[in-house]
C-alpha cells in the first residue's frame, strides 16, 4: 500500500468523527485532528481503534500518545505495517 492509498483509507476512518468539513475536504499530511478537524478528544481513541481494525495492527500507548495529526498517524501505520 503506498502513502496515497494509506491516507485515503485513513480519511475514510476519520470522517465520522470530523465536525469541520471544510478542513476535512482540504485534508493534507499537516492536518491536525483536534485543531483543524475539531475532533473531540474522546473520539481520538475511536480513530486509534478503527485504525487497528482496518489495518490489522496493534497501536500501543506510546504510539497513541503522539497520534494528533495525519502525518504522525501515517508514520505509525507505515511502521506497524512494515513490522508485519
Amino acid at each position: 500500500m503506498n502513502k496515497e492509498e494509506l491516507i485515503a483509507k485513513l480519511k475514510v476512518i476519520i470522517k465520522p468523527y470530523t465536525t469541520n468539513t471544510e478542513a476535512y475536504d482540504n485534508l493534507t499530511e499537516n492536518t491536525d485532528f483536534i485543531n483543524d478537524l475539531s475532533i473531540n478528544s474522546a473520539n481520538l481513541v475511536d480513530i486509534v481503534l478503527d485504525i487497528e481494525e482496518a489495518f490489522d495492527v496493534v497501536i500501543d500507548n506510546t504510539d497513541m500518545e503522539r497520534m494528533l495529526d495525519v502525518k504522525t498517524a501515517v508514520e505509525i501505520i507505515e511502521t506497524k505495517l512494515a513490522e508485519k
Binding site: 485543531n35 473520539n43 475511536d46 481503534l49 487497528e52 500507548n61 497520534m67 494528533l68
Partner: protein, 178 residues
C-alpha cells in the same frame, strides 16, 4: 493555573460508545477500570474520570506547552463524593492537579487547578475578550490589557468559561514581583 472540562451526557451518547471493545482499556488505568466496573452507574463514572483527565490535561498543557494524547498517564483519584460533587486529584508524573467535579442532570463539569486553594477562587465569566497564543492556550484580556489564565470548554448544549478571581491572580503576581 486552571483547566476545565464540561460533558453533555446526551451528546456523549451520540458521539461515543464507551462499551466498545478496547475503548476503556486504552483510556483508563487498571485502577480506574476497577472504579468503572464497580460503579453503580458505569457510564457516569467513565465521563467523570474523563472530564477529570481533560481538565487536568489543560493545566498540564498550559504549563508544559506539550501536546500529547496521554489519558493513561493522567491518573485519577477520587477523594470524596456525594450526590452533586466529587473532589479528587489527577497525578501526571510529578504534577498533582486538584479537581472538583459538579454533577447536574446530563452535565458533568470538572475544574482542575495546580494550587489547591485556587479551587476556592474560580469564577465563571462570559466568553469575550479571549485571546489564544501560538500554543492555542487561551487568555482573558482585561480592560486594563492584562492577561489572565482562562479555560474554555464546550460540549453539546453546555459551555463553560472559567478563570481564577482576578484580584487573587494579581496579588499572586505582585508576590512574584516583589
Amino acid at each position: 493555573m486552571i483547566g476545565n472540562d464540561v460533558i453533555d451526557i446526551q451528546q456523549s451518547r451520540k458521539e461515543s460508545n464507551w462499551q466498545r471493545k478496547g475503548y476503556i482499556e486504552k483510556l483508563f488505568t487498571l485502577k480506574e477500570q476497577l472504579l468503572i466496573a464497580n460503579s453503580l452507574d458505569p457510564e457516569s463514572m467513565v465521563w467523570i474520570l474523563w472530564s477529570m483527565k481533560e481538565a487536568a490535561y489543560k493545566v498540564y498543557n498550559r504549563k508544559t506547552k506539550v501536546r500529547e494524547y496521554i489519558p493513561k498517564r493522567l491518573e485519577c483519584f477520587i477523594e470524596s463524593q456525594n450526590h452533586d460533587f466529587i473532589s479528587g486529584k489527577v497525578i501526571c508524573s510529578d504534577n498533582i492537579y486538584h479537581t472538583k467535579t459538579t454533577l447536574l442532570k446530563d452535565e458533568i463539569h470538572t475544574i482542575a487547578v495546580s494550587v489547591l486553594d485556587d479551587l476556592n477562587h474560580v469564577k465563571e465569566i462570559e466568553k469575550k475578550s479571549i485571546f489564544k497564543d501560538r500554543n492555542n492556550i487561551p487568555y482573558f484580556v482585561s480592560l486594563e490589557n492584562r492577561f489572565h489564565d482562562v479555560s474554555v470548554s464546550h460540549h453539546g448544549r453546555f459551555e463553560k468559561v472559567i478563570t481564577i478571581n482576578i484580584q487573587k491572580q494579581e496579588s499572586n503576581s505582585l508576590t512574584k514581583v516583589y
